[in-house]
């Protein structure tokens, strides 16, 4: 199995705080990997470095074998790395269909076309409609994104990321804040993603993690605490202690 995404000795410091502490991590092609950890473990900071929003203090990141440590968000995106956001980052005044087409346009270099009306390329529009329908967005194609139900917005987050046809997709808490009734929809969508996309799921919700992930990494205080298959992690007493235990306490 080839490695699609890799970090070597990744460190990120904010002033005196070490948010990411020497993380070395490999993601094989086709992976269904979850990244978990207690609050403040540095999950989002880690993802932000992977996607290029933050520059690491030291260490390097490889995407499909290329060193992308210094690359911009956009360059990584074009190299096949896509992400969703924990807090919705959508185009509130556009429609879902438009949003998806914009992303496809960028992938196909069609966004440089300044003369022909938006949507002229039938093949791209058709692709967008298909993608939207596969994510249960078919009934809201022409609504204003800002007025969509929250669950639909979360789905659109994923749809826009998928439109870039990524090889690696980072899902940052895709079900966060989604009401119970719409949760399954999102889980099904995530479960149905094609095997050609390697997934990293950053998640709080243990149900979702264990239903979905084959392998799991646990981050604690910015450092990689333990890695293993889902079963191994579920049984690992140390993980129970630092993570699940903590959760039990907070629930109790």
């Amino acid at each position: 199995m080839t490695t699609v995404l890799e970090t070597r000795g990744l460190c990120k410091k904010f002033g005196g705080i070490t948010a990411t502490d020497n993380v070395t991590f490999k993601l094989p092609a086709g992976a269904r990997h979850a990244l978990i950890g207690p609050n403040g473990a540095g999950k989002t900071t880690f993802v932000n470095q992977l996607s290029g929003v933050l520059l690491p203090t030291s260490g390097s990141i490889f995407l499909n074998g290329q060193d992308v440590t210094e690359w911009t968000v956009r360059a990584r995106s074009r190299a096949g790395l896509a992400r969703t956001f924990q807090i919705n980052q959508l185009f509130a005044d556009l429609t879902p269909l438009q949003s998806i087409i914009i992303a496809i346009n960028e992938r196909e270099n069609a966004a440089r076309s300044w003369f022909l009306p938006f949507g002229t390329r039938k093949d791209l529009v058709a692709e967008a409609v298909e993608l939207a329908e596969s994510l249960n967005l078919g009934d809201v194609l022409d609504e204003r994104v800002g007025s969509l139900a929250y669950g639909k917005q979360r789905l659109l987050e994923i749809a826009i990321a998928l439109a870039a046809k990524p090889t690696v997709l980072l899902l940052d808490e895709p079900a966060a804040g989604v009401p119970e009734s719409e949760r399954d929809q999102i889980l099904n969508v995530v479960a149905a993603l094609p095997a050609s996309v390697s997934l990293v799921l950053i998640e709080h919700d243990m149900d979702l993690v264990f239903r979905f992930a084959k392998t799991i990494s646990v981050l604690v205080n910015g450092a990689l605490f333990v890695e293993g298959t889902a079963e191994e992690i579920a049984k690992d007493p140390r993980v129970r202690q630092v993570y699940l235990g903590e959760e039990e306490i907070s629930h109790g």
Binding site: R74, R83, F85, Q89, R112, F115, A128, D142
Partner: protein, 353 residues
């Protein structure tokens, strides 16, 4: 909801056709430009021996409104589509005005050089170049930062115009601009008839260009940047490059507007670079409604007519009533004049049902 499929709700045609249809010209657009042309045609009415209510007496004002509208359009391109707020568009307007003015002054008589159309192109190019050179300033920071940086640039340009007396004529303005006939055929006249047609055509061409642009795939990528720059980056939109491009383009269009004013009024003065120029034009866009392309045009039409009307009634205190209108508009309407009109139309439609 689930029973109603999207197909039932949507009008006929494939999704692609529907999207393309959104960019089609509508009747009210024909109406807008049609009325503008009618205003121009009305100048011939007296020759035919009858008078129409629209008389050719306000040609200069109409040209000026169109030019202001073009300047506002350039701001709308930045503000309404790319979400880039600028308070320094007057700088490019002024640079365009001085470029066209200087070319007309020193190129007078030298056939190709003095042609107004060439002058406009030069005005657009020079302003666009300066826009490009300063575009890196607007890439970072909040709205307020952008506002102040662009304003700062404009103030510095204004000061430069004032200081470079030998070239610009300093605070007295650039004198001796003699606009040559357009393409060597149409002479500028005192009634401003040629100026009006010339302005109308140039403004329309620029508008048409912008309209194509904002309705294209490129235009939608700009809207994505306005909507959410973080996400736009994540899907691979070259945000900084696009912002630089659109800012440069807007600068060029503002330059063309400035060039038009210099050519049709045959002089250029520091007023054309001044702060109030930038502020007024931004005001027009907001007044008309940002993000519709027509906002700036309608904003300047309504604003200037209101100003002309009020200052004829009370030359000293018209500002008061303009202020009242602005305050009321903001309090009761969204999206400026266009918002007002759309509210009115949807109400009448609602009543009709």
């Amino acid at each position: 909801m689930s029973a109603v499929t999207s197909e039932n709700l949507r009008p006929i045609g494939t999704p692609s056709e529907q999207l393309v249809a959104a960019a089609r010209w509508r009747w009210f657009e024909f109406l807008f430009w049609g009325i503008a042309i009618l205003c121009g045609l009305s100048m011939f009415a007296p020759m035919l021996g009858f008078n129409v209510p629209i008389i050719p007496s306000k040609m200069m004002l109409m040209s000026e409104i169109l030019i202001l509208g073009l300047l506002a359009l350039s701001i709308d391109l930045c503000l309404g589509y790319a979400g880039l707020v600028t308070l320094g568009q007057g700088a490019f307007f002024g640079i365009g005005a001085y470029t066209a003015g200087l070319l007309a002054k020193h190129g007078a008589g030298v056939a190709p050089l003095s042609d107004p159309i060439l002058g406009l192109l030069a005005a657009g190019l020079v302003a666009g170049f300066v826009g490009f050179a300063t575009s890196f300033l607007v890439l970072r920071g909040s709205d307020l930062t952008r506002l102040m940086v662009t304003l700062g640039v404009a103030l510095i340009v204004e000061e430069l115009v004032n200081k470079l007396k030998d070239i610009t004529g300093g605070s007295d303005g650039l004198q001796g601009v003699m606009s040559s006939p357009i393409l060597g055929i149409w002479e500028f006249d005192l009634f401003g008839k040629t100026a009006f047609w010339y302005t109308l055509i140039v403004v329309f061409v620029c508008f048409w260009f912008c309209r194509r642009l904002v309705n294209s795939s490129y235009g939608y990528s700009l809207r994505a940047i306005k909507g959410n720059a973080l996400r736009a980056r994540a899907i691979g939109v070259p945000v900084n490059a696009r912002l630089i491009q659109v800012y440069t383009l807007a600068a060029a269009i503002a330059g063309i507007a400035g060039g038009l004013l210099a050519q049709t009024t045959q002089f250029a003065s520091p007023d054309m670079v001044a702060f109030h120029r930038s502020a007024d034009s931004l005001l027009m866009v907001i007044f008309g409604g940002a993000g519709y392309l027509y906002g700036g045009l309608i904003g300047s039409v309504v604003f200037r007519i209101m100003q002309d009307f009020l200052s004829n009634i009370t030359p000293q205190y018209w500002l008061f009533w303009v202020g009242v209108v602005l305050v009321l508009l903001v309090l009761f309407v969204r999206n400026g004049i266009i918002g007002l009109l759309s509210a009115a139309v949807s109400r009448s439609k609602g009543a009709g049902k």
